[in-house]
């Protein structure tokens, strides 16, 4: 946004430093150079030529064959399609081998409709110096044939673009940038005093403020009439300045305001006095008022927008853009020059609301130098008088220019304390004074007065920044930062530990970690128990990213489906991340969830010749869920499995993992078919989700030693039982009944077979368990084993109705 040329900079900075050094210094003092455009290089092949003869192309109505004098060697034949190509004109020639930026091609020697063409006559558009592509460049008769066009046109002045941080109002003008460079020893700052211009008569147009009871949006407003001007194209030097930074010259009066904007960071506005009806009022816009602005667009106003109005109505968007109706044209004879101060926040809001990014807004929203309001008006008047003539009025001022007097009590030790840098007092003083600060006092503690153009400097830390950026951050020595004598302890919190263990545990089960959006569509959120109004974004970026997710599963299902659509149906994905049950910090939880689709089994993905494959089922999800919980620190023996889960699971093929009914850690199972349908996803698809916060914290132990290992010297004994039970009897109940018979002797029970079918009565099933007995004191006798087996059969029968299978 802030652009200038090297020659322009040198108007304000007496320097012989090369461009590269200046550019580097700009970046290193906080004025980051975004781009340097050195057209002299790109335009080197383009030279000024004379068209000796332009005659009709034999084979094409719209083409001409031109013989061109390039200033050296024989005339060159060029085929040209421009309507303005004519004998005797001066234009710009591109030889074969030249790169044409506007066409993005490198020229060759070609034949156009059977006539050879050895180059090209170019338009301004083809050189990308303007949008003019109506014809080839038409130069005055005195243009020197053979000379580089860039030099002739003043395009060889390198353009520098700065990516200006929002705090630096002073660097929105070349003048301020030169001041910074001078402070950094890059040359001498040229700061000429601005002369006051005596008004010949009172300003006939009065300015009043009318903000009623609302806060004023305009601290001060200066206005001056210049009578009897002769407006027209501005002089060449001014046009070149503006063109070089990409501005289009309009007429002298308008060009002067643009020049002031870039040269001094002082936006001005000029009204054609003949088109202003009566006096000017600065006020808030009224609902329904409209203004056709200078950009050709009509804006609808309201009372948040500050405007300048006359008897007609609104004439200008204050501090942002003028109106078309009262703008200056070549016919303007009397001009009103406005130099005002505006409320920066209001300017920013208005610019954003109306979508206008003008050069004036860019400066006023950063805060222009209030002390320069009147000098800026004087300087602009001088230029008007010089370029257009006329007689100036006195300056009429409404409001008050208030220049804040910032004085900072600054101990030099702050540089050492905050920046770790030792800057001698004399150097510190020199830097600050070159930046326009006034430094009073000789001791370690000085008083620093802040110049009017630096609203960003308010405290000691700001002074430190000013000194450090100018002397160079490189001067701050690297200082080792010892970690101290504290004992090395784990730095992760329990939930952080769980999160990282959960992620690696799931990846170790062949799942792949996805990171999906924290927001999903409202219907999806509602399907998974979310969709509360307080979790809906007011300004979502897309309709399907509107609500904070209540679960990770919908995002994972959508991702799995996308993979399937791409030809990868067997996706196993997981995510460990935040879910939201309300908008308060305590409502945010860390969930670990995973899904498996089609053939993404834990044992392996896809079909395999060993046939241990098949489609995913709820037990795969159960295994994932238990595995992640245990890896994250859940006590395996305390986890209970209860049939069923939330509505998004298949009611008969899902389970809930809990530690007692009050602590539900999560769920697993097959996704509900209608939920899959609503998500536009195809199964088979199983998944799980657990909440890591719900894992009970393990008690901290005084020692890291593991409990003593207690091994029995007696061999364990294993006995098998097959019980026939009703089909709805849960295996867990059989196991629990059996294990309760003798908790000391029974070391383990496994379910090794479940069978329904021939040999088992319909409606029933056979569940086979293996019970491991671990004697502690002596080897068990057959009689003792048989007695225990009988008790197991009896207990299982009592609890589940099961009978031993015949």
């Amino acid at each position: 946004m802030m652009k200038f040329t090297l020659a322009w900079l040198k108007e304000h900075l007496d320097t012989d430093r090369p461009l590269a050094e200046l550019a580097d210094k700009l970046t290193m003092i906080g004025l980051e150079v975004e781009r340097i455009e050195d057209k002299a290089k790109a335009f080197a092949p383009f030279t000024i030529v004379r068209v000796i003869e332009a005659k009709q192309h034999p084979n094409a109505d719209r083409l001409r064959v031109c013989m061109v004098d390039t200033g050296s060697g024989d005339p060159v034949q060029v085929v040209c399609g421009a309507p303005n190509a004519r004998t005797g004109m001066k234009s710009v020639f591109a030889p074969p081998g030249a790169f044409i930026p506007g066409k993005n091609i490198t020229l060759g020697i070609g034949k156009i409709r059977d006539v050879e063409s050895r180059g090209m006559l170019v338009s301004e558009f083809e050189l990308q110096i303007s949008n003019d592509h109506d014809g080839i460049i038409d130069l005055p008769d005195d243009a020197p044939v053979g000379q580089p066009y860039a030099k002739y046109a003043g395009l060889d002045d390198p353009m520098i673009e700065i990516n200006l941080t929002p705090n630096r109002a002073d660097a929105t003008g070349v003048h301020g940038i030169a001041r910074d460079l001078a402070a950094a020893d890059m040359g001498k700052f040229r700061d000429q005093a601005i002369k006051q211009i005596k008004g010949e008569f009172p300003c006939p147009v009065k300015v009043t403020f009318d903000f009623g009871a609302t806060p004023s949006l305009c601290p001060a407003f200066g206005l001056r009439l210049v009578r009897g001007v002769k407006n027209g194209p501005s002089p060449d030097w001014l046009q070149k300045r503006l063109t070089a930074i990409g501005l289009r010259p309009i007429n002298a009066l308008v060009d002067i305001t643009n020049f002031m904007t870039y040269d001094r960071g002082r936006p001005l506005h000029v009204f054609d006095a003949a088109k202003v009806q009566g006096n000017l009022v600065v006020r808030r816009g009224r609902a329904g008022e409209k203004l056709l602005a200078l950009d050709g667009k009509t804006y609808t106003l309201d009372d948040s927008i500050c405007v300048i109005a006359d008897d007609h109505g609104v004439e200008s968007l204050a501090g942002i853009m003028g109106g078309e109706a009262s703008g200056c044209s070549e016919a303007t004879a009397d001009v009103l020059i406005e130099s005002a101060l505006w409320d920066p926040i209001n300017i920013a809001q208005t610019g954003r609301q109306l979508g206008i990014n003008s050069d004036a807004r860019y400066r006023f929203e950063r805060g222009v130098d209030p002390a320069f309001m009147v000098p800026g008006l004087e300087m602009a008047t001088r230029m008007v008088l010089d370029l257009c003539g006329g007689t100036p009025s006195e300056i009429a001022i409404a409001g008050h220019v208030e220049v804040p007097e910032g004085i900072i009590d600054f101990p030099q030790s702050e540089l050492e304390r905050l920046a770790g840098i030792d800057v001698p007092l004399a150097e510190m003083r020199r830097v600050l004074e070159r930046l326009g600060f006034f430094v009073a006092g000789q001791g370690e503690r000085v008083k620093v007065a802040v110049p009017s153009w630096r609203p960003d400097v308010a405290g000691k830390a700001d002074i430190v920044e000013e000194v450090v950026r100018i002397v160079g951050v490189d001067r701050v020595p690297l200082t080792p930062f010892p970690r101290g004598a504290d004992a090395r302890k784990p730095v992760l919190t329990p939930i952080q530990q769980r999160t990282r263990k959960a992620k690696r545990a799931l990846a170790a089960r062949n799942l792949v970690e996805a990171v999906t959006w924290s927001f999903i569509s409202k219907p999806q959120a509602e399907l998974f128990g979310g969709g509360k109004p307080e979790l809906a974004l007011a300004n979502p970026i897309a309709a399907d990213l509107s609500d904070m997710r209540p679960s990770l599963i919908p995002g994972l299902v959508a991702s799995a489906q996308k993979n399937a659509d791409r030809g990868f149906p067997d996706a196993g994905l997981y995510e460990v991340g935040q879910i939201f049950r309300g908008d308060q910090p305590a409502d945010q939880f860390t969930a670990a969830a995973g899904i498996r689709r089609a053939l993404a089994k834990p044992s392996g993905i896809g079909r395999q010749w060993q046939k241990h494959d098949g489609e995913v089922d709820a037990f795969d999800a159960k295994a994932d869920a238990l595995s992640v919980l245990i890896a994250a620190g859940a006590p395996a023996s305390a986890l209970q499995i209860v049939p069923g889960g939330p509505a998004w699971f298949h009611p008969g093929r899902s389970g809930t993992i809990q530690i007692g009914p009050k602590n539900v850690l999560g769920h697993f199972g097959e996704l509900h078919p209608s939920v899959l349908e609503a998500l536009d996803a195809e199964g088979p698809l199983v998944g799980f989700e657990v909440i890591l916060e719900y894992i009970p914290e393990s008690k901290s132990k005084a020692t890291r030693a593991k409990p003593v290992l207690d091994l029995s010297t007696f061999q364990p004994v294993e006995r098998d039982f097959a019980f026939v039970v009703e089909r709805n009897v849960k295996a867990a109940d059989i196991v629990r009944a059996a294990s309760n018979v003798d908790r000391k002797l029974i070391a383990g029970i496994s379910v090794f077979d479940v069978y329904e079918g021939q040999g088992v009565e319909s409606g029933k099933k056979s569940v086979a368990i293996a019970v491991t007995l671990q004697p502690r004191d002596k080897t068990m006798t057959d009689a003792e084993i048989d007695a225990l087996a009988a008790k197991i059969v009896a207990e299982v029968g009592k609890r589940t109705g099961g009978v031993l299978r015949a």
Partner: protein, 360 residues
């Protein structure tokens, strides 16, 4: 005498001729069975005179031993042949593929890996890891961080908002992880050393912006930490993270509302056919912003800026992951394409440590 020799030759020939265990057993019975030929000879020993027994005994017993040895040898040969025959029939096609280990297929996301790398580096320098909620208040996300109300800098953040509450306040999705700095300063007594990784949100989407991304910030608050320490920490971090012996760094003055002085940091690099090498070349690449915590922020968090001081820095986790591991498109981070995740993700057992190397 010849009889014995002849008998032995006959028996040994029969053993040799026997084709299987059954035939061999028949030979054994015929020789050593109850009425076997050798048994018969042994029986004759008792009837012989002592002198004759002295000469015949060893002959006949020798015959018995040699027959037994020959039988055992033949039996061993049959067993060997049977084993060979079984082995010959039992070959499998060992070129058939086996399942890959689950831990070879599973992946952690590059963001997870990089957070673990950051944790390893900064834990070594004495930093803890702090976290905070994604849904924040305007106060913590902006005001306490020295963004004045209505300031344009707030608008630059392209904030996602929730709907206003009845009291007019409205929550938002944090636009940076900095509100966690505020939460940390409000709840912990200095000295403070934390890094803050987490999800952040801005209402922006194009090739280099996604509405959700990840940041990591660092915060140090005590009574003496200054820019020199900050530069050292960041230099140590860059060397460790990018796994190079040295890396050129450039600190440029910049502006953030919550730091003063503020700096942006570029690292030296060389771009080569789409690949970026650090610690060489003469290009500069911006990687992070940092500065001394603004006195207003300290005050807003209940700390006296004349007593306490410190610094903070922040950078994009996704961005440094892209720089280190060579991904070209940020959007792919969140598309859950298994091909991308398998390629750019990390094996679960590749846990980054300083001892074993972050990425090796």
């Amino acid at each position: 005498m010849t009889d014995t020799v002849q008998l032995e030759n006959e028996i040994l020939a029969s053993i040799e001729a026997s084709g299987d265990d059954a035939a061999l057993e028949a030979v054994r019975v015929a020789a050593l069975g109850k009425s076997g030929s050798v048994t018969a000879l042994l029986k004759t020993l008792g009837t012989l005179a002592p002198e004759e027994r002295k000469t015949q005994g060893p002959l006949i017993n020798g015959l018995k031993d040699r027959v037994n040895a020959a039988l055992a040898g033949r039996r061993e040969a049959f067993k060997g042949a049977a084993l060979q025959a079984r082995l010959n029939s039992e070959s499998i096609d060992v070129t058939l593929p086996v399942r890959e280990a689950p831990a070879e297929i599973g992946r952690v996301h590059p963001i997870t890996q990089v957070i673990d790398e950051l944790t390893a580096i900064f834990a070594d320098m004495g930093f803890a890891v702090a976290e905070g909620p994604d849904i924040e208040t305007d106060d913590y996300n902006f005001t306490k961080l020295n963004f004045p109300p209505d300031h344009p800098a707030r608008l630059m953040h392209d904030t996602f908002f929730f709907n206003p509450k009845p009291d007019g306040s409205r929550l938002l999705l944090r636009t940076h992880t900095s509100p966690v700095q505020v939460r940390t300063m409000l709840t912990q007594k200095p000295p403070i050393r934390v890094i803050i990784p987490g999800r952040t949100y801005r209402c922006d989407s194009d090739q280099t912006h996604t509405p959700m991304f990840h940041q990591v910030e660092g915060l140090v608050i005590d009574k003496g930490s200054h820019l020199g320490h900050l530069k050292w920490i960041l230099a140590e971090f860059c060397k460790a993270f990018f796994e190079v012996d040295k890396v050129g760094m450039r600190f440029r003055p910049s502006f953030f509302p919550f730091t003063e002085p503020s700096l942006e940091v570029d690292i030296q690099c060389r771009r080569d056919k789409g690949e970026i090498r650090f610690g060489e070349g003469d290009d500069w690449l911006e990687i992070l912003g940092c500065g001394m915590v603004h006195p207003n922020v300290l005050r807003n968090c209940g700390l006296d800026p004349d007593e306490y001081q410190g610094f903070a820095w922040g950078m994009g986790i996704d961005r440094i992951a892209m720089l280190k591991y060579g991904m070209s498109d940020l959007r792919a981070f969140f598309e859950a394409d298994v091909r991308w995740l398998s390629h750019y993700g990390f094996r679960p057992l590749d846990f980054p440590t300083l001892a074993g190397g972050l990425s090796s």
